[in-house]
């Protein structure tokens, strides 16, 4: 089924287009020569061993820093040298491999800040009627990612699992068209991973998802298209089934132990 949809989308221009993207950090070439097209509605997993350059690639796409070579195009707009704040309004949101939350604020406020981030009006120092709607929306998203019971708790007091859920909630709160998830399952217990997988599968197709994941069960269940990276380059692409059968992938990655990336 996923195959059909992917091919159906083939005629449409990709919402993310990378051409020859590379990024150096001093002498280290963390990413090089990456070409990638992601189409609307796609579920894409980016796999690879530690240090393969997956998170660097994410940061380049999200605008954390610009690539040192190549170009990044989002929704048909060249954003290569634009900062993250120019990409968020286009509908790009992300999560972080290590939770980056506002520890001193409540869950609801974390989500609310995420909504305002995408909505604009960042210097508004008065509350309007619209804010009530945003607050409602924040609580609703909180419910959706399973945090309904702890909406008014300060984030610093949440469990690790809850913090990972909030990571996704914050990416969702921006009303994304493209959501980039950096190891959402990191550090989760088995039962939590199952719940996470269900949640990811339940997302609307209007949201395109790119996923970095070490947990093969999660990644290969959610994704319908897999990009395999090694040493900063793309070394294989294909469906989950193809990737499972790829000997190179086995040698590089599946055969080795998992751990925290980069």
């Amino acid at each position: 089924m996923s195959q059909i949809e992917t091919s159906a989308a083939e005629g449409v221009a990709p919402i993310l287009r990378l051409r020859g993207v590379g990024r150096r950090f001093g002498g280290v070439h963390a990413v090089r020569g990456v070409d990638m097209d992601v189409r609307a509605g796609e579920r894409r997993a980016v796999l690879g061993p530690n240090g393969a350059g997956k998170t660097t690639l994410f940061n380049v796409i999200a605008g954390e820093f610009p690539p040192t070579e190549g170009s990044v195009e989002l929704f048909g707009v060249d954003v290569t040298n634009k900062p993250a704040r120019a990409r968020v309004p286009l509908g790009v949101t992300r999560t972080f491999q290590i939770s980056r939350l506002f520890a001193g604020m409540t869950v609801a406020d974390n989500l609310y800040v995420s909504i305002i981030g995408a909505e604009g009006g960042h210097l508004r120092s008065f509350r309007t009627a619209q804010d009530r709607a945003f607050h409602g929306q924040a609580r609703e998203i909180g419910d959706r990612v399973g945090l309904g019971a702890v909406l008014d708790e300060v984030v610093g007091t949440l469990s690790h699992g809850e913090q990972r859920q909030l990571e996704i909630g914050m990416a969702l709160a921006g009303g994304p068209k493209l959501m980039m998830l950096d190891e959402p399952a990191a550090g989760l217990a088995r039962a939590e991973r199952v719940k996470l997988t269900e949640m990811l599968l339940g997302f609307d197709r209007s949201i395109t998802i790119i996923l970095i994941e070490h947990d093969m069960d999660v990644a290969l269940t959610v994704a319908e298209h897999v990009t395999m990276m090694h040493d900063g380059r793309i070394v294989a692409e294909g469906t989950p089934t193809e990737i499972r059968g790829n000997q190179l992938v086995h040698d590089l990655y599946l055969g080795k132990g998992h751990g925290n990336d980069e």
């Binding site: 968020v88 506002f102 520890a103 609310y112 210097l123 007091t157």
Partner: protein, 344 residues
């Protein structure tokens, strides 16, 4: 809910009690203890505003306070000021606030890219630069400071009607306090706190971190400027010594004594400082070592509670609550958790 309402009632109660204090105390106490505490508290509030919401400890706030005071002194006809403008005191005060905010924004642009100890050092440098500027430019700071700065007529005489300036200070402090509390829950206020907690996430969420920080610094400058204007209204005098490094440290001490993460701590700290400063000088034993004695009190408070007096209060509060209700305490912080500005 009941608790929140009670909180409001108590807040109103504090303000009412504060408002009648001039009838209870002598003119000297009203002016030299209470008004001084309100003004220093307001200056400390600008520091705590940045510390609690932005996670920034700024040592430039007293410098900004001085910018406001010196600007007023130079714009009105005062002894030692520039004298060429001879403006109305209200207009001069308004312009002083504008100048202070502009200077604050300028410092903000430069300082907003740094954090922690670097931010502390940069703001300290600005504080010192401002002090040196006024010290060297005797055209702007007079020979022995600017003296005889006129007060707004409505305030009457500083000697005979000390309660008027006190009430003005009280009203402004209440407004600033409520304003900061309100601000903390606006999009801007939350964004500023978000940057404190996690700057990369804020960038990823689409926020212009530098801009937000700069403008927030401008707001803090406005609060410091208000305190600076009130100070010259009250003291009718300002000199470079007002913003020297010693007073800068004392302002930081006030903020820390009160509690760096609670806006109300600003006035608690200021009151404690002013009373100690006044009373310690009357004690024969410490008469010549006031700074040392203040330092010891400061150390005791900080050792007793890193969160200052408000921190002591807060941990008492949670202990009291825990003993009151054994259940539902699971998620409670013990008062030492992440900094947070009180929600209402």
């Amino acid at each position: 809910m009941i608790s929140a309402r009670l909180h409001w009632l108590i807040g109103i109660g504090i303000v009412i009690v504060a408002a009648v204090l001039p009838f209870v105390f002598s003119n000297f106490t009203t002016s030299q203890i209470l008004t001084r505490a309100l003004i220093l508290g307001l200056a400390a509030a600008s520091l705590i505003f940045l510390a609690s919401l932005g996670g920034w400890v700024s040592l430039a706030q007293l410098g900004l306070y001085g910018v406001a005071g010196f600007t007023v002194g130079n714009l009105v006809q005062a002894d030692g000021g520039a004298k060429v403008f001879a403006m109305d005191i209200w207009l001069a005060s308004l312009l002083a606030l504008v100048v202070t905010v502009l200077v604050g924004l300028l410092i903000g642009v430069i300082a907003s890219r740094s954090e922690g100890i670097y931010f502390l050092m940069i703001t300290l440098a600005f504080g010192v630069i401002i002090k040196l500027l006024f010290e060297k430019a005797t055209d702007l700071s007079g020979f022995g400071g600017i003296n005889q700065i006129i007060q707004p007529a409505v305030l009457g005489s500083a000697q005979l009607d000390p309660e008027r300036i006190y009430w003005v200070c009280l009203a402004i402090c209440v407004l600033v306090y409520l304003g900061i509390r309100y601000f903390a829950h606006t999009p801007f206020g939350l964004a500023f706190q978000g940057i404190r907690d996690n700057t990369p996430r804020m960038r990823a969420l689409g926020y212009n971190v530098t801009l937000i920080r700069t403008v927030a610094f401008g707001i803090a400058a406005f609060i410091a400027g208000l305190a600076g204007v009130l100070n010259v209204w009250w003291n009718t005098q300002i000199s470079p010594g007002t913003i020297d490094i010693g007073p800068v440290i004392f302002l930081l001490m006030i903020a820390i004594i009160g509690g760096l993460y609670r806006i109300e701590g600003a006035w608690v700290g200021a009151l404690i400082y002013v009373i100690l400063d006044n009373r310690l000088r009357s004690v024969d034993l410490v008469g010549e070592r006031v700074a040392t004695a203040l330092g010891i009190v400061f150390l005791l408070i900080v050792l007793l509670s890193p969160g200052g007096v408000m921190g002591i209060y807060k941990s008492l509060a949670s202990r009291w609550r825990r003993s009151r209700s054994e259940s539902g305490a699971a998620r409670d912080g013990d008062g030492t958790a992440a900094p947070t500005v009180a929600g209402d």
